[in-house]
Symmetry: C2
Subunit: 313 residues, 2 copies
């Protein structure tokens, strides 16, 4: 439960308490994926050890591991082998970390602080950060394509292709491009939602759909998980924007108030704090209902939206 | 035949004339891959059109398309379907272009000129160049993993994995990391050769081996093409270093004399111009012999070394 000054979500409507075991589920995903990444990322050796050091610095920075959680729990709905799901989770976390490293660069968002520590280009240097990001993106595909990720090469190919689509110029990279152009544009809510769907939503979708792909589930399952992921993704973005307005740098571990300083429209600036929060709550509620057909197996995924609404970092 | 002042390869030993049809073979590869990339790269549309424009600007800059040539001609040894080989060639050229865009960045080699035109970050801006590079890297894997690249998913997975290994932190990215650290180090010839093998050699190897993978050729064929690629790669690097010392900015379309200015050791600075050139000639000769078992079908690949020795850009 958040106690950050100004974070007054309690006053605007009913709120589902985060179940006590949700944190456990999140921590469990973090432990599994960190252990896998420890094995899968190259050791700092050779004349080029520095790039491996920077990759590990960026990856092992104590993130929430939300995306690995989504992969592991969506895979759990379809009896996917644990070690296969963990590999996919590790690939996605590597790719997500690349996006943070590049987004933090001076020519992008120019952030000095990430998760309470110096960003990779501050701890190393810009060239090393660009290269570490490039290598983290590349290793994600290396992991997915390897035999150990799934017995059937067709499944591995589909994972590679879907991740590339989610991460590429019509996905995450395209979203960051729009974000870079945002200060010079006048965006309406549809534009901001498109930005979010590309910048963060596409990867959230892949995380959830990856479980269905690994489990060779029906198209109906994939569609359901995609719907869930879309609602979760927008909930995440709205709460992120709320934290930028209302949160503290100490708790979030990064600079706050940046969107306003940069003149960027957000759903919070366009709709106002209360309406944005209400919308996030409605999306969260719908995402819980979407997964009803899976019964108790989906409990952890259904607990996520309340966690997102409650978070203070 | 080169007529650049100071480019005196004629005086140091016998030289194989580039067969008249070699240029034709190279142009033919360029035409095929450019046409494929025109189709495969996204159109500049939407709020994020700018990143697509930058991707196309970087890719359609009139490069020699050496890597596509290697893919198409090595695939030709194993009766690979033309359209499959062209897709792999397009993927590799996209990935190669990403490496040029990122290497040219101010925090890396800080180049304003590439192939005689402003580099991508000069024509657009740094953030767009970083993102266009990221997207070109990503689209390479998207292309390889798609059904159209090969009937058998196992072949596509292998292509993805081998390309990721060649391009990642123990391949091309690792090589660029060493290159960035080079001005502060004292490198011997072994170090410089390791740098080259990672920075440019690994991708050359993949280009040649990709033909064998697509054709599901024997391990022996893969090994042979890998040997050929290694010799070609080092020949390419030595002639590149010779051009940096002896070439003209006008012909090469990029700044010259940079290695010396930056205090970087090269095989030319370590061995001297004549010994480096002799070594390149010996490697070139060996690469021709390696492909002898393929008879006339390998003629174009066998003509490449002479072209590399003769080139003035």
């Amino acid at each position: 439960m958040s106690t950050t000054a100004g974070w007054t979500v309690d006053t605007t409507g009913p709120r589902t308490a985060t179940p006590p075991d949700f944190r456990t589920a999140l921590d469990e995903a973090a432990t599994a994926v960190d252990s896998a990444l420890e094995q899968l990322l190259p050791q700092p050796e050779g004349l080029h050890a520095r790039v491996h050091e920077a990759m590990r610095y960026a990856v092992f920075a104590g993130g929430k591991r939300l995306r690995p959680f989504l992969v592991l729990r969506s895979a759990g709905l379809f009896a996917v082998k644990r070690e296969q799901a963990v590999r996919v989770a590790a690939a996605i976390e590597a790719l997500h970390t690349y996006s943070l490293v590049h987004d933090d660069l001076p020519c992008m968002d120019d952030d000095d602080l990430r998760r309470g520590r110096p960003t990779t280009h501050r701890a190393f240097d810009e060239a090393t950060a660009v290269l570490a990001g490039d290598a983290l993106l590349t290793v994600a595909f290396e992991i997915l394509a390897a035999d150990a990720t799934h017995d059937q090469p067709a499944v591995r190919c589909r994972l590679v292709r879907e991740l590339a689509l989610a991460a590429g110029s019509n996905g995450m990279v395209g979203g960051q491009m729009i974000d870079m152009l945002a200060p010079d544009k006048t965006f309406d809510a549809d534009d901001v939602i498109q930005l979010q769907r590309l910048k963060t939503g596409a990867l959230f979708e892949f995380c959830c759909v990856a479980g269905a792909i690994l489990g060779q589930a029906a198209a109906e399952d994939e569609a359901r998980l995609r719907d869930y992921a879309r609602d979760i993704g927008l909930t995440f973005q709205i709460t992120d924007d709320l934290l930028d307005v209302l949160g503290s740098a100490e708790k979030t571990g990064k600079a706050v108030g940046k969107d306003k300083d940069q003149g960027k429209a957000t759903l919070v600036s366009l709709w106002g704090v209360d309406a944005a929060r209400s919308k996030a709550q409605a999306l969260a509620q719908r995402s819980v209902q979407t997964l009803a057909p899976y019964g108790a197996g989906a409990a952890a995924l259904q607990a996520l939206p309340a966690f997102l609404l409650d978070r203070d970092s």
